[in-house]
């Protein structure tokens, strides 16, 4: 069991460009979460999928962020027209009997 796999681990993107982050949950886990971590805001909930269906995206900034889970083996978080304030570590987690986190994708927008 490789755990939750997130790619890329690091991404530097220019302001205004698009960034896509990938998450492979633990096999058999039906729930997938995305969180954003910054020094100032801490850990913020972004969105939640259950059995691939979007259940709660209340934490997603409405205009430029989107998340999908096209199949049970991966989820993506896409940020369009990236801004410096999007710089953060984006954490994916999947849940079986408890919540397991990936190592995160560090996004830097310059």
């Amino acid at each position: 069991n490789a755990g939750v796999i997130q790619t890329p681990r690091h991404k530097v993107t220019g302001k205004g460009q698009e960034a896509t982050l990938w998450c492979e949950p633990i096999s058999g886990h039906s729930a997938v979460f995305w969180y954003r971590q910054t020094i100032v805001q801490g850990l913020e909930f972004l969105t939640y999928f259950r059995n691939q269906a979007p259940i709660d995206d209340s934490g997603m900034p409405k205009e430029r962020f989107s998340a999908q889970m096209p199949n049970q083996s991966h989820s993506t978080l896409k940020i369009q027209s990236t801004q410096p304030q999007d710089s953060a570590v984006y954490l994916c987690a999947s849940r079986g009997n408890t919540l397991y986190f990936g190592e995160g994708s560090r996004l830097i927008v310059v």
Binding site: Q6, G42, F101, G104
Partner: protein
Amino acid sequence: AQSVTQPDARVTVSEGASLQLRCKYSYSGTPYLFWYVQYPRQGLQLLLKYYSGDPVVQGVNGFEAEFIKSNSSFHLRKASVHWSDSAVYFCAVIRTGGYKVVFGSGTRLLVSP
């Protein structure tokens, strides 16, 4: 809505000393409670969890926590810390029947030699 307060942003203890990291939650019912640890450039790793039953729960690496409902607290303890315990510790809560994990702001632990 539930919330979690970790009042200590930073804690420094000497190696071999005992440790308590404080956590208080705000929720009218009995939530599910967790402690996670985050080492530099890594994700969060589960230390221990409380769902019900014995209010003292044992976790990995000698950590334990006690759920005190009357005080809405779930403090993390360790009898003797090691330098490798230096990390950021997060307390977290899920309301009963819920799914969204709400995290505290974290406590950075530094174990000095």
